[in-house]
Amino acid sequence: MSRKITLEDLSPGTSGKVLALNATGDLGQRLLDLGFYPGVEFRVIRNAPLNDPFELEMMGYLISLRHKEAGFVEVQPL
């Protein structure tokens, strides 16, 4: 089975759509609460000066998260 694409794999400038959330517990809940759910579209904007975390835009607002934590969001690049 090929590895699924996650948010961690997208580089700044690319857009995508959330397919699934693979995290539960605290992290999963935080992702959910900030608006990650299947079907939502987003755009990766930029990395921090030291590369981590990064900033993305969805539904008209901006969110920053760490690459590691983004690895739990399965996405489809658009």
């Binding site: 959330l21 693979n22 995290a23 539960t24 517990g25 605290d26 992290l27 999963g28 809940q29 935080r30 992702l31 959910l32 609460d33 900030l34 608006g35 759910y37 299947p38 939502v40 904007i45 930029r46 990395n47 921090a48 000066p49 030291l50 590369n51 981590d52 975390p53 900033e55 835009e57 539904m59 008209g60 607002y61 901006l62 969110i63 920053s64 998260l65 760490r66 590691k68 934590e69 739990f72």
Partner: protein, 826 residues
């Protein structure tokens, strides 16, 4: 007859809750904490149409789970405090996401009013929101507001004032969870049979929370259910059955449904679509978070923060100082005056007390500027950007991007203050990282420590001043970072952490109102908590330094010296006009008082020639004989009086030293000597260190005397006051002492702020104890270890630096724990 209304403001962060809160309540508000937790509770009042409304600003949350302290606080408040109405403040320019929280509030069976705030921003973005559609869909009263400009104030006040009249019913909205509904229904039926649970929360809400596997809901049910095992069985059964049928856990399904519903409602209510062009905030971030420009701008921001608060504020403090000492001088005038040798206890206590309090009062102008500047950064939305840029470094040491500001304020290089630093820790959302930050910020270089270092560096490293200052200024951060990591791996291990998922809020122009309100709030905390407690502790420390006092033999000895000096003085002035004037101790003290007044008047004239001359003329006219004795350097009476004055001052100083040595604190210094000798500290150094705890500023002056450093800032070789008992003080001593000071327990004000910030005496004691022990170890390592290897102070310094740096790199390099896909299960 007036009715009482108890209303709460709920909403997502940055929706403008605090702005609405200020708009509604005006100045009648105060800040406290929710019992037992560090979450801030703001309460305000207003009266309208014969109703008295008490308004509580709940913490801003994206959701109402039990994962974070803020969410638990907000949720418990709604469930347990029985508010008359909850005003849900919604960012109208971000409707879809904000409605996600609204959905959850509507499930809690309380009257809700929806406030579409930031309606101006929404309009500017091109949204048009149909209020009727929202009211229809959600079944709640809906209003619009622009908190920044006060639009909507009257309507909101009116609605809240009449919330108790029964016009606002329970929301009719009911979320449809689709395929999960049958399970919810079955659980709800079971819960209906539990009277205790039923009385505590709505059964449908609890059924949903139990299916979500919400930790607190489960423990609530466990505690109060009559038939818990039965309930648990069917709960687990329902969860598994659902997951088997729909290949999704109920918790995710529930959240997804809420999002879908929020999206549907938002779509229905929005008449214009999201334009999809690059927002202004995004474009600003392009500069402020730019790879190169971002860090440069951030440094510029820090620099201006310091320039304005420390330098300019310092100037302001310097302006305030003379007034404070004048006030103190004036107040001391009411106390019994000291005699030639007699010092009234009450006078000594009151002076000590006033000196301690005014040492802290001096900081108020500086703190006010600092707090206002931070409030501006907060209001603008810059703080999360700082966190964004530095998170990567801090994370490696168990800290958080938001630890940046506290460290900067604490004095990451030189010249900060731990009090505002610790206060700024509230912005760290992750509890473990917040505690680690609170515990390490006091290790930074505050202003008082900086002055201390400058003194020691100047005296013992005269040829390497810049290098030694660089050492002490940077070693603190090099030590603090790995210490933070060690703390978070050990004592803080069990505390909650939170993922770094953070909204980067829209940039706003700050409002004067919000900035001043926040600055006053913080200053008030400082005054209320720190000043009052410091005042109380100052009295205790005074007593510990005062009693049991000087023994009889010594007292007699001092008395004899004093009498001898007095006899000499009388003999010297015998042939001058002054002799006729000095007939009693009162006369003598009048001369002392005359001199003090004269000096004060001269100081007030401060360099102004004409004014200075006028003072001379005035005092000469007042009493020509006394004037001669205080002014004419060549006169006999001046010389005699000058000698007497100096001798008296010396005797008083020695008596005071003797008293301190005999005191309870002095005894403590001796008890510690067997350990501290390995750090090169004798008991007198210990006493000086312990007593500097009340106000760190005094340490510099004390050690100057103790270490025999002259007024020219140079070390003059083993002196009378020398602490090593005749042994010369070496640069190695100085290095050990500086390191000890760097790690030394935070000052009293900081300790109290740590208590305020952690709401715990245990952490307060810990914040006191661990740096003391570490500081002692570091000083012993340098003094005893360095001595054994025959290192000079300078060599020991850099050897230590190398070791600390290696340790820091090692701790930073230690792998971080990777998130498992199920952190709770791990």
């Amino acid at each position: 007859m007036s009715t009482r209304v108890y209303a709460a403001l709920a909403g997502q962060p940055n929706s403008g809750k605090s702005t609405i809160f200020n708009m509604l309540t005006g100045a009648r508000q105060f800040v406290a904490n929710y019992p037992g937790v560090t979450v801030e509770k703001k309460v305000g009042y207003f009266s309208q149409d014969s109703a008295k409304v008490e308004l509580v600003d709940l913490p801003g949350t994206y959701s109402l789970t039990s994962y974070s302290m803020e969410e638990r606080v907000a949720r418990d408040f709604v469930l347990n405090d029985d508010p008359t109405v909850v005003l849900n403040v919604v960012d109208a320019s971000n409707l879809r996401r904000n409605l996600y929280l609204t959905m959850q509030l509507l499930e809690m069976d309380i009257p809700v009013v929806l406030d579409l705030n930031m309606i101006d921003v929404a309009k500017k973005k091109g949204y048009e929101i149909d209020k009727e559609v929202l009211e229809e869909e959600l079944g709640v009263k809906t209003v619009t507001s622009d908190g920044k400009r006060g639009v909507g104030r009257e309507e909101l006040r009116h609605i809240l004032a009449h919330a108790g009249d029964g016009q606002i019913g329970l929301p009719s909205f009911r979320m449809d969870y689709g395929p999960l509904e049958p399970a919810i229904g079955r659980l709800q039926n079971l819960l209906e049979l539990e009277p205790e649970l039923k009385s505590r929360c709505p059964t449908r809400w609890l059924a949903i929370k139990l299916l979500e596997d919400d930790e607190r809901a489960v423990s609530l049910a466990k505690e109060h259910a009559l038939q818990w095992s039965e309930l648990e069985n069917s709960l687990v059964g329902e969860r598994q059955a659902f997951e088997a049928d729909f290949t999704i856990r109920p918790a995710q399904h529930i959240a997804f449904r809420r999002h879908e519903t929020a999206e549907r409602v938002a779509k229905a209510a929005l008449k214009a679509k999201y334009p999809g062009r690059r927002s202004l905030t995004d474009r600003i971030d392009g500069v402020l978070c730019h790879r190169v420009a971002g860090p440069i701008i951030m440094c510029a921001v820090f620099y201006s923060l310091f320039e304005l608060a420390v330098s300019q504020g310092g100037r302001l403090a310097a302006m305030v100082t003379p007034y404070l000492s004048q006030a103190q001088f004036f107040l001391e005038g009411f106390l019994p005056a000291p005699g030639y040798m007699h010092e009234p206890l009450i006078t000594s206590l009151a002076s000590w007390f006033m000196t301690s309090v005014s040492a802290l009062l001096v900081y108020i102008p500086q703190f006010f500027i600092l707090f206002a500047l931070i409030a501006i950064l907060e209001d603008v939305g810059y703080l999360p950007r700082m966190a964004f840029m530095l998170d990567r470094i801090f994370k490696r040491f168990g800290l958080h991007g938001n630890s940046t500001l506290p460290f900067i304020l604490g004095g990451i290089y030189v010249g900060g203050c731990a009090v505002p630093g610790v206060m700024a820790c509230r912005a760290v959302p992750d509890e473990r990282a917040r505690l680690a930050t609170i515990l390490t910020v006091p290790l930074m270089n505050c202003l008082a420590k900086t002055a201390f270092y400058i003194m020691l560096v100047g005296a013992f490293f005269p040829n390497n001043q810049a290098g030694a200052m660089f050492f002490i200024s940077t070693i603190t951060l090099i030590m603090a970072l790995p210490i933070a990591r060690v703390l978070s791996l050990t004592v803080l291990k069990t505390h909650e952490t939170a993922p770094f998922i953070m909204e980067m809020p829209t940039y706003h122009l700050p409002t004067v109102r919000a900035v001043l309100t926040r600055a006053f709030e913080r200053i008030w905390v400082y005054i209320k908590k720190v000043l009052t407690i410091v005042a109380a502790v100052a009295v205790v420390i005074w007593a510990l330094l005062q009693f049991p006092g000087v023994d009889q033999a010594k007292t007699d000895h001092f008395q004899q010296q004093a009498q001898a000096a007095l006899a000499k003085f009388e003999k010297a002035i015998a042939k001058t006009p002054l002799a006729k004037r000095i007939n009693s101790e009162d006369d003598l003290m009048a001369l002392f008082a005359f001199r003090a007044d004269y000096r004060a008047a001269k100081a007030a004239a401060a360099g102004d020639r004409a004014a200075s001359k006028a003072v001379n003329t005035r005092f000469k006219a007042m009493d020509p004989v006394f004037f001669e004795a205080v002014k004419n350097r060549r006169s006999k009476s001046y010389k005699a009086f000058n000698k007497l004055r100096k001798t008296r001052a010396r005797i008083w100083r020695e008596r005071q030293g003797e008293r301190i040595n005999n005191s309870i604190l002095g005894k403590m210094g001796m008890v510690l000597e067997p350990i501290s000798q390995f750090a090169g500290f004798d008991w007198r150094v210990n006493v000086a260190m312990i007593s500097s705890f009340a106000a760190r500023e005094s340490a510099t002056a004390t050690f100057k005397v103790l270490y025999g450093i002259g007024n020219d800032g140079k070390y003059a070789g083993p002196a009378m006051g020398d602490s090593a008992g005749g042994k010369p003080i070496t640069p190695l001593n100085a290095t050990a002492l500086m390191l000890f000071m760097a790690l030394f327990p935070p000052c009293l004000a900081t300790i109290i702020i740590v208590r305020v910030a952690t709401q715990s005496y245990r952490w307060m004691l810990f914040a006191f104890a661990y740096p003391s022990i570490l500081g002692m170890l570091a000083a012993c390592l340098v003094y005893t270890g360095g001595g054994a290897l025959g290192l000079s102070g300078w060599e020991a310094m850099w050897t230590y630096y190398g070791l600390a740096l290696a340790f820091a790199v090692f701790m930073g390099w230690l792998p971080l724990k990777r998130y498992s896909s199920n952190p709770k299960g791990a």
